[in-house]
């Protein structure tokens, strides 16, 4: 089978799975639904491997295949095919997505066990995977937008999965609206591409672009900026990042899958995919990189102070995606993709472990209350540590290889990119601190009540059903795992999911050891062979120097964390008091929400109020009632004249006669 056929099959299975589960929710038992969900994704994964084999079987230069089912829409020469584009990059994405998804499905199978909406969950989840695959396989910009928006929709559905929690629905709305803003960016980009090039198919666009555009011509810059709007919105880069932390309202596997491993990396994929355009618009590419740097620093600083376990990891995600943006922005595409992959491993792992702890904490997420889980949940603790090590780039772990490759490339390009490299190093230091902040805060020490309960009873505390964000009590049908929720880390599904990911997070880096194998780079090369950076990259020696400094930073960071949170636990609170303004700036996430409210939301709301209370009432209705009033008062005047007085009538008549005659006399002159 050709790679394209495999590609279609990859799309088919998750969609089928989603529909099957969705339609039969009353008929099949939850376990079957879960199994169907897992199976569908796993089949997609297998087909992805099929595609991989098919692609690798081709000679290097013909490793991209486009395939179209039918003409989707075609107006005035603007033709959109229902087509896919299979090349190493998309196959790589397919594999990462389906692979990680399969594991998360397995994890969810156990984790969501006692939830009321089990079918719904798996149906959504499968639909999400389908959308994500559509996004990466789409053969043109228009279909990309479709996948892009479906992903947004799935994300919305899963964030507000516990739909009777108002915080969840609000978060869903926020995520969706910001995603739509991203969609609009893409729409305009696609339209602009069509206007300039007359096509929207990837292959044709990338072929034509260098012929039509000169470097940094404003059109191509505009296209890239619009693409970046979409990319930033989806990948939670500044200033479109505010939804991501709120998105943690969704179930933890959702956070793992969507808000760590897959969806948020779509922006990175997009830039990588559109690299021929970005290379024609270096300004835009640089902007992407700078925004990446900014985001990774801002998010890193926030992650140090927030206390909500899932939100720490969420900000960390933002930060790591910042790295990826830097990578694709400066031309280190395979490095970016490599980091994307390793990040998927260790971040999904972190979320899973966090989910495990949260379920043990009866859904409470504040790390201030967590203690001693090292003893209570040793397996989870190990996984958490592996994840944290990989995240902070501890030598040998996957994160070490991938992150430092990006930094190397930045220093290699020199100039202002050096500054980026320095920023990224600072970011790496922050990363090490906050990841081990988690470890040091919740694993060691005397177990807290919940942890102790787990140790004593072998199952988790059953707290009051409530909203973790507001503490509001809720009925038991929403978001509450239920009385029978005994899993913590014991369920096999969770263990399998975490174990495989833990393994991958540890050794995944070995795929791309500078000077040794560089599997990823070689595999992706056909996709990036037209890149101007294809033959310029750091030497092996430079790479290893970078890795060395990365290792140093990471270890120093971990040590600092140890100092702060274990050795001298008083320092953080003293710092907090000393640097009160800084702290509140960070705790409030640099006031981004407030600024956006002030700049956009409030004016729109005010406009809405104005329209409703002033404009509609006084202008629209006023115009109507004003006209009516004039007519009515004219009617009143007519009726007042109609006094019933005969002589009055005669006078008016005489008046009419005199008037008419006057007119005629004047005319006759």
């Amino acid at each position: 089978m050709s790679a394209a056929t495999w590609g279609w099959l990859v799309l088919l299975f998750p969609l089928l799975g989603s529909l099957l589960i969705g339609f039969s929710f009353r008929k099949i038992p939850p376990k079957v639904a879960g199994a169907v969900g897992i199976g569908a994704i796993f089949l997609a994964f297998l087909c992805g491997i099929g595609a991989l084999i098919a692609v690798q079987g081709e000679p290097s230069e013909s490793r991209h295949v486009a395939s179209s089912l039918w003409e989707y829409a075609s107006v005035g020469g603007f033709t959109i095919d229902l087509g896919i584009y299979v090349d190493p990059l998309s196959v790589f994405m397919v594999l990462v997505i389906t692979g990680v998804s399969t594991l998360i499905h397995v994890y969810s199978y156990s984790y969501m066990q006692s939830d009321e909406g089990y079918h719904r969950f798996f149906s959504y989840l499968n639909f999400f995977v389908f959308s994500m695959l559509l996004l990466v396989l789409a053969g043109n910009f228009a279909l990309l937008i479709v996948g892009w928006a479906f992903v947004g929709f799935a994300s919305y559905a899963l964030i507000s999965y516990w739909y009777r929690r108002e915080t969840a629905t609000k978060a869903g709305m926020k995520a969706f609206v910001i995603n739509v803003i991203g969609d609009i960016g893409l729409v305009l980009a696609a339209i602009l591409i069509f206007r300039e090039l007359g096509v929207v198919d990837y292959a044709a666009v990338f072929e034509k672009a260098p012929e039509v555009f000169s470097t940094n011509q404003w059109e191509v810059v505009a296209i890239c900026l619009l693409l970046l709007v979409g990319a930033f919105a989806k990948s939670a880069q500044m200033p479109f990042h505010t939804w991501l932390a709120d998105a943690m309202e969704g179930p933890t596997p959702v956070s793992a899958l969507i808000h760590a491993a897959t969806m948020v990396t779509a922006g990175v994929y997009l830039v990588a995919r559109a690299h021929p355009l970005f290379e024609l618009a270096p300004t835009a590419a640089d902007l992407a990189a700078w925004v990446g740097v900014g985001t990774l620093l801002v998010a890193g600083t926030i992650a140090i102070v927030v206390t909500d376990l899932k939100r720490i990891i969420a900000f960390s995600t933002m930060s790591q995606i910042g790295y990826m943006f830097v990578a694709v922005g400066i031309g280190a595409y395979s490095a970016g993709m490599f980091h994307l992959m390793t990040h998927a491993f260790f971040k999904a792992l972190l979320f899973m472990a966090a989910g495990s702890i949260i379920s043990a904490m009866a859904n409470r997420q504040n790390i201030d209350h967590m203690k001693g889980f090292g003893k209570a949940m040793p397996f989870t603790a190990v996984m958490l540590i592996i994840g944290a090590l990989a995240l902070s780039g501890f030598p040998g772990t996957s994160g070490w290889f991938s992150k430092d490759e990006i930094i190397d490339f930045a220093s290699f390009r020199g100039g202002m990119y050096e500054v980026m490299a320095v920023g990224m190093l600072i970011g790496a230091f922050l990363t090490a601190i906050y990841s081990f902040r988690i470890i040091f805060r919740i694993l060691p020490g005397k177990p807290c009540d919940e942890a102790q309960y787990l140790i004593d009873n072998g199952h988790v505390v059953h707290g009051e059903p409530g909203n973790p964000a507001t503490g509001e009590l809720e009925d038991t049908e929403v978001g509450y795992p239920g009385e029978e929720h005994h899993i913590a880390e014991q369920a096999p599904g969770m263990k399998i999911g975490m174990a495989v990911l833990g393994f991958l997070a540890l050794v995944g880096g070995l795929l791309q050891i500078p000077g040794v194998d560089e599997v990823i780079t070689k595999f992706l090369e056909p996709s990036f062979e037209d890149s101007i950076f294809v033959n310029s990259h750091p030497t092996v020696a430079e790479a290893w120097t970078g890795l060395g400094s990365g290792a140093l930073i990471s270890i120093v960071g971990i040590f600092t964390a140890w100092l702060l949170y274990v050795k001298k636990p008083g320092i953080p609170s003293r710092l907090e008091q000393r640097l009160q303004p800084v702290h509140s700036l960070l705790v409030n996430k640099w006031y981004f929400d407030e600024i956006i409210d002030f700049l956009i939301v409030n004016p729109v709301k005010a406009f809405g109020r104005f329209s409703n209370e002033i404009f509609e009432r006084y202008v629209i209705n006023g115009l109507t009632s004003g006209t009516v009033g004039v007519i009515r008062s004219a009617g009143g005047a007519v009726r007042d004249l109609q006094s019933g007085m005969l002589r009055g009538y005669a006078v008016l008549m005489l008046f009419g006669v005199v008037g008419l005659l006057l007119y005629f006399l004047i005319r006759s002159i």
Binding site: I631, R632, A634, G635, G636, V638, R639, L641, Q642, G644, L646, G648, Y649, A650, L652, M653, F655, G656, V657, G659, L660, L661, Y663, F664, L665, R667, S668
Partner: protein, 517 residues
């Protein structure tokens, strides 16, 4: 002394003869109490014969009796409309208090007299016949308005109509005198010739622009405008419509307009065609003013008859446009509109009569509430009539407006067309208020049921009880329902298949092909 008796084309004169004969018979019948009840059949027969004669003379186009009359398409079409409305009025009068009190035949004789005046007016071709026919039309109407002798309103309306009407007549007479004096002729074609002078441009301008001529035109306009209730000479209309016995109102509302518009056409487009530039703007202003006054005046009326009175003012404004454009199309449009107006107005009045009789003479719009549910045979014709008056498709009212606007636009009077549109919008409000009352309001609280208890009702009319004449079964009387249903059906039919009516109207338009394009 010898008389050269004028040659008389009796065939063309037959409608007038038939009517005269009927009138005389009715007067004679009135003397004998025993056969009075045959008044209505006699009147209907007379009208039928008249109509037959008119149709018989469909294609005639000739001067009659030494040029006193001119029989042509305008005569035929508009006379027919008058005759039809008279017939409906006869039907609606059956059992009316006015008819009963006055003795049927006398009442009907007056009606016939008025119809005779109208038929004569539609063919009047000189100033004298014009004036006498107009008076023959009006004087019986004055009396008829007052015939509900027990009703104060009726007498009041009769006297008001008479006084104001006579002022109008006097003004008209004065104007006619001036026209006669300046043109030096009595017959319309000769008047036109008189104004042409000896044909030199100088003589034309001298007379056409002469102040005396223009004052004469102005005063004639006043007299005619009064009769068709063009604002600002409209003020009698609502009062008289409301006070007069409803069948008479119905007759007056449509037939008078038809007849007077005939003379409007003949006088302005034959006699005064030479100075069309002099009077068209003035008439246009009057028409526009009428539309405004009629429509806004009707807005807050609670009496249906009064509302129809005001609406008649506005409608007259629309119709006047057909004269203003001074084209054959304009005449056709006017005749078409009048025909449609006859159908829709008579339907409305027929319903109104039935409703009044049933409820003890209340014509308040709110008393119509719930009619749609309880009396569909009344409700539907009324609804259709209102929609048609409002000019909504698929009724003849819509086509009529369309025709008028087409004629206006064709003659570069687009702004008047827009005025018609604007007037129509305003009129929607009050016409649809009636529809809303019929269909969209819960039944009126004191709504009379079929078995009406008249004793419990307060006297619905000022100054007297009409209880004797209240007829709880009025909505089942064929002579009331039939006109309503036929009127409504015609309104719809000619809205869907307007061509026959268009041809009917063009018969009138073509009649003046010698004078206007």
């Amino acid at each position: 002394m010898t008389f050269d008796s004028p040659s008389i084309d009796y065939a063309a004169l037959s409608p007038i003869i038939a009517l005269t004969a009927g009138l005389v018979v009715l007067v004679l019948v009135a003397v004998f109490d025993s056969i009075k009840r045959f008044g209505s059949p006699i009147a209907l027969l007379t009208l039928a014969v008249t109509a037959g004669c008119l149709i018989w003379q469909w294609d005639t186009n000739t001067d009659l009796v030494a040029g006193s009359l001119h029989f042509d398409g305008i005569t035929v079409t508009l006379s027919l409309l008058c005759v039809v409305s008279a017939a409906v009025a006869v039907l609606l009068s059956i059992g009316d208090p006015a008819e009963k009190q006055t003795g049927r035949s006398d009442y009907l004789a007056l009606l016939m007299g008025s119809v005779l005046g109208m038929v004569m007016l539609t063919q009047a071709n000189n100033i004298i016949t014009f004036f006498v026919a107009l008076e023959l039309l009006s004087i019986p109407l004055y009396a008829l308005c007052a015939t509900n002798l027990r009703k104060r309103d009726s007498l009041e309306s009769g006297l008001k109509y008479l006084i104001i009407g006579s002022v109008g007549s006097a003004t008209l007479l004065y104007g006619l005198a001036l026209i006669y004096g300046t043109s030096g002729a009595m017959e319309f074609p000769q008047i036109a010739a008189g104004y042409l002078g000896d044909g030199t441009p100088d003589s034309i301008n001298k007379l056409v622009g002469d102040p005396l001529t223009l004052v004469g035109i102005g005063m004639v306009t006043v007299g005619l405008a009064f009769k068709v209730s063009i604002a600002p000479f409209h003020q009698w209309t609502p009062d008289v419509y409301q006070g007069a016995p409803t069948p008479i109102t119905a007759f007056m509302a449509v037939a008078t307009k038809a007849a007077v518009f005939a003379i409007f056409i003949r006088f302005f487009l034959v006699a005064l065609i030479g100075m069309v530039d002099g009077w068209d703007v003035m008439l246009a202003a009057l028409a526009a003013f009428s539309m405004v006054v009629g429509n806004v005046g009707a807005l807050a009326q609670t009496s249906l008859k009064r509302m129809l009175g005001y609406s008649g003012i506005a409608q007259a404004g629309y119709m006047l446009c057909g004269v203003i454009v001074a084209t054959q199309d304009g005449i056709s449009a006017l005749v078409f509109y009048l025909a449609a107006y006859v159908a829709m107005n008579l339907a409305a009045f027929a319903v109104l009569v039935a409703h009044e009789r049933r409820t003890g003479f209340s014509d308040d719009i709110s008393s119509l509430r719930g009619l749609g549910r309880s009396k569909p045979l009344l409700a539907w014709p009324l609804t259709i009539a209102m929609l048609a008056l409002a000019g909504l498709p698929p009724t003849a009212g819509f086509i009529g407006k369309l025709y008028l606007i087409e004629a206006l636009v064709d003659a570069d009077w687009t702004w008047l067309g827009v005025m018609i549109a604007i007037g129509t919008m305003i009129s929607l409000v009050y016409y649809l208020r009636v529809v809303a009352a019929v269909w969209m309001s819960p039944e009126a609280e004191a709504s009379p049921t079929d078995e009406i208890d008249t004793s419990g009702l307060p006297p619905a009319v000022a100054g007297g009880s009409a209880g004797d004449f209240t007829d709880g079964q009025a909505h089942r009387r064929w002579y009331l329902v039939l006109p309503a249903v036929i009127g409504a059906a015609a309104t719809i039919f000619f809205g869907v298949v307007p061509q026959p009516l268009v041809e009917f109207a063009q018969q009138a338009g073509n009649a003046l092909s010698a004078y206007i394009s």
